[in-house]
Each structure stands twice: as structure tokens, then as C-alpha cells.
């Protein structure tokens, strides 16, 4: 192939720097490994628990899951309950991001494994989406919102979820979808406390002369 033939060889100094990089690049340190594992376990446990309609945490760890999440959870925590997972993610070493990401460890918990209430799982997903939006991880935020929609199509936090979806779509630059989601939201929840926020999230119309804009509401 001619493109291949045109490829210049690596500059010798670049090649030497590349060799050094290959041999010296670091992976995660111990603290990062531990934190990452705990976070991953918490995230996957929420998805897995939601997938099985919030079973008792003990049952979730007992191998009843087909999903591989159970493996990670079990290894991360031994025989700990899912509430323990949340604790692990919230432990002092877990980093600042966790503080905003998960605030849902039930205050009193039976280490033997109480059932995780559905609303806890719902809240977890919505909070993760909100935290991700605040950190600029919009794609991840949208993923969490979709996960919530899959698990809790008629949940308690649908209204909040759909408001956040508008913001996520705007941040991702998917404006057409954002407008559609906003008008769906306002049509469904005309008196919502999130209504102003949803309208403010939409960027102002660019070309008044061109845009038909039948769905554009007054903003501010």
C-alpha cells in the first residue's frame, strides 16, 4: 500500500523516548487500585441490583446473578453487603469525587444484608448522573440516565431524570434532541419545579429568521 510505503521511520530520539516510555510507564498505585475497585464495585452493584429488582444484598452476592458484577462485588468485599459497597466508595480514601457521587449509605445497616430499597437505587443513578454532569462527563451522565430509564421507567425520579437529560443533551451538543426532550418534558410536567431550569439549559435560538421554532418557549 502506498500510504504504508510513505511512512517515515521513527526519528531515533523519538524511538528512544518511546522505548523508555514503554519500559517505565506506571500503572495505578495501590491507593488508586483500591479506590477504583471500590467505585467500580459500587457502580456495577447498583446496575446489577436494579436489574434484579433490588434483591437482598446477601442474595446478590450469593451467586444468584448471571451478570459478572457479582464477581467483582464478591471479590472486592468478601461477604459484605451492598451497603458496605457504598461505604467502601465513601471511605476517607475514596477521594472527593465520591463524596458527591454517592451519599446513600443507609444510616443504620445490618451487615448481614438488608434489602436495598428501590428508591435508593433510583437515587444513586440520578445522583451519579448529576455528579457526572457537574464534572463535564456528559456521555456518562446520559448513560446513567438511560440506565435509570431502563430500570425504572415509572420510577419516583422520572421527572428529575428527564430534566437532567435535557441538560446532558445540550452539553453534548445534541441540540435537536435536547429541544425535543425539553418540549416533551414541559408537555408532561407543565408545573414542574425544574421547568425553568430546563428552559434555561437550552441555548438561545441562533437564527430567528430561519428557525420555525414552534416549540421554543419563552426563556429566563
Amino acid at each position: 500500500m502506498s500510504a504504508h510505503a510513505n511512512l517515515p521511520p521513527l526519528d531515533p530520539d523519538v524511538a528512544s523516548a518511546v522505548a523508555t516510555e514503554r519500559s517505565s510507564a506506571r500503572g495505578p498505585n495501590r491507593a488508586q487500585r483500591g479506590r477504583l475497585r471500590a467505585r467500580l464495585a459500587a457502580t456495577l452493584a447498583v446496575s446489577a441490583a436494579a436489574a434484579t429488582s433490588a434483591p437482598a444484598a446477601g442474595a446478590m452476592l450469593g451467586g444468584g446473578l448471571a451478570k459478572p458484577a457479582a464477581l467483582i462485588v464478591a471479590i472486592a468485599l468478601g461477604t459484605g453487603a451492598a451497603v458496605g459497597i457504598y461505604r467502601a466508595a465513601r471511605s476517607p480514601g475514596a477521594g472527593e469525587a465520591e463524596a458527591t457521587r454517592t451519599e446513600l449509605a443507609p444510616g443504620t445497616s445490618d451487615p448481614a444484608g438488608p434489602a436495598i430499597p428501590t428508591w435508593v437505587l433510583e437515587r444513586q443513578l440520578v445522583q451519579e448522573a448529576r455528579a457526572a454532569l457537574a464534572e463535564g462527563r456528559d456521555l456518562w451522565a446520559l448513560e446513567r440516565l438511560d440506565e435509570h430509564a431502563r430500570r425504572f421507567s415509572a420510577g419516583l425520579l422520572v421527572e428529575e431524570r428527564e430534566a437532567l437529560r435535557v441538560q446532558a443533551l445540550v452539553d453534548l451538543g445534541r441540540l435537536q434532541e435536547a429541544h425535543a426532550a425539553a418540549s416533551r418534558f414541559i408537555g408532561t410536567y407543565p408545573a414542574s419545579v425544574h421547568r425553568d431550569g430546563v428552559q434555561r439549559a437550552l441555548p438561545p435560538p441562533a437564527e430567528p429568521a430561519e428557525g420555525p421554532g414552534p416549540r421554543r418557549g419563552s426563556r429566563r
Binding site: L10, D11, T20, G27, R35, L36, L40, P68, R137
Partner: protein, 184 residues
């Protein structure tokens, strides 16, 4: 590592997600860093990569090595991160430590080695993300071009052209340092 996985494949049983995570974490971590992710953000993006991978794991071809598949996911996660940073006008590279060492000083070997990788990071930081991604995969990670085509879903001719531009630019920068010229 890959051999252990190959054994599992030979037995017909795909590796568990847990096993894949254990084996590939370091490689994914290094790859994410090499794509120019700020030190403070690496953990977040590696987390996101493995969560996406977990969700798609049922669809993953267990007979294939997992690394290219994970790198493909990580590439998209990191591409979005860079896009987002551009929109926000954030500076990602060089904000964790002073990466731009003076090439003229310091004889110690350890320092020299650190400098070599730091210089490489600085030089890579001047490349457009698409060029950097191909260079990292082909010249640092030593992935084959057909693999990279699958990972990035970009035609080989485009990838070769990006790789050529990347190599030329890096050569120019290193040449400048060799002759005692300016930093990039």
C-alpha cells in the same frame, strides 16, 4: 497474561469480566494516560471505560483478545473527554507537574529517563488527538494497523496518513531539541 487468556479460550470458556479487569487494568490505565488525560482524571476515565465494557461484555466475542476491544472503548471515552475540554477551554496537559524539563541540564540517569518520557509527553501534547491516538497505538502500544482500524473504525489509509503526520511532527520537535532549539 495474554497466554493465560488464550488457555481459557482454548477451553471454550470466555474469561470472566473480573479476570479481564485484573489482567487489563494496567494496560488500560497506561493507554488512557498516553492519550493525554490529566493525571487527576485518569481514574475517572478508566472507571467509565470498564463500566461501559461491563455493560457490553455479553456482546464481546470471548474468543478475541480483550485488549483491543477495551482500547476501542477507552478511545471513545477519552475522545469525548478531550472534546469536552476543548469546548470548556480547559488545559489538560502539563497541569500536574512541570513536564517541560530543560533538555540542557542534569546528568543523572533517572532524571534523564524521566526527561525522555516527559519530552515525549510534551511533544505528543502538540499533536491533534486523532494523530496522537494512532501514534500511541501503533508506535507505543505496538498494535497492528488492522487492529487499529477495528479499534478506531477509521480506514487504514487515513490512519497511515495520520501516523505519517505524527511521526514527522515529533521528529521536527525532537530535532529542535537536539540542536538546542526552543521548546515546542
Amino acid at each position: 497474561m495474554d497466554m493465560a487468556l488464550a488457555v481459557l479460550h482454548a477451553n471454550g470458556a470466555p474469561p470472566s469480566f473480573e479476570a479481564v479487569y485484573e489482567r487489563e487494568l494496567e494496560a488500560v490505565w497506561r493507554y488512557v494516560r498516553r492519550l493525554g488525560v490529566a493525571e487527576r482524571d485518569i481514574e475517572d476515565l478508566v472507571h467509565d471505560t470498564f463500566v461501559v465494557a461491563h455493560r457490553r461484555y455479553d456482546a464481546f466475542d470471548g474468543a478475541a483478545p480483550p485488549r483491543p476491544w477495551l482500547f476501542g472503548i477507552a478511545f471513545r471515552v477519552v475522545a469525548h473527554y478531550h472534546r469536552r475540554a476543548r469546548v470548556r477551554g480547559e488545559c489538560l496537559a502539563g497541569d500536574d507537574e512541570d513536564l517541560v524539563a530543560d533538555p540542557q541540564e542534569g546528568p543523572e540517569a533517572a532524571l534523564e529517563s524521566k526527561r525522555a518520557t516527559d519530552r515525549l509527553q510534551v511533544a505528543l501534547g502538540t499533536l491533534p488527538f486523532e494523530q496522537r491516538a494512532v501514534f500511541v497505538l501503533h508506535d507505543i502500544e505496538e498494535r497492528s494497523m488492522p487492529e487499529i482500524v477495528t479499534m478506531l473504525q477509521v480506514p487504514a489509509s487515513t490512519l497511515y496518513s495520520r501516523l505519517r503526520l505524527a511521526r514527522e511532527r515529533l521528529a521536527r520537535i525532537f530535532r529542535g531539541w537536539r540542536t538546542g532549539g526552543d521548546r515546542p
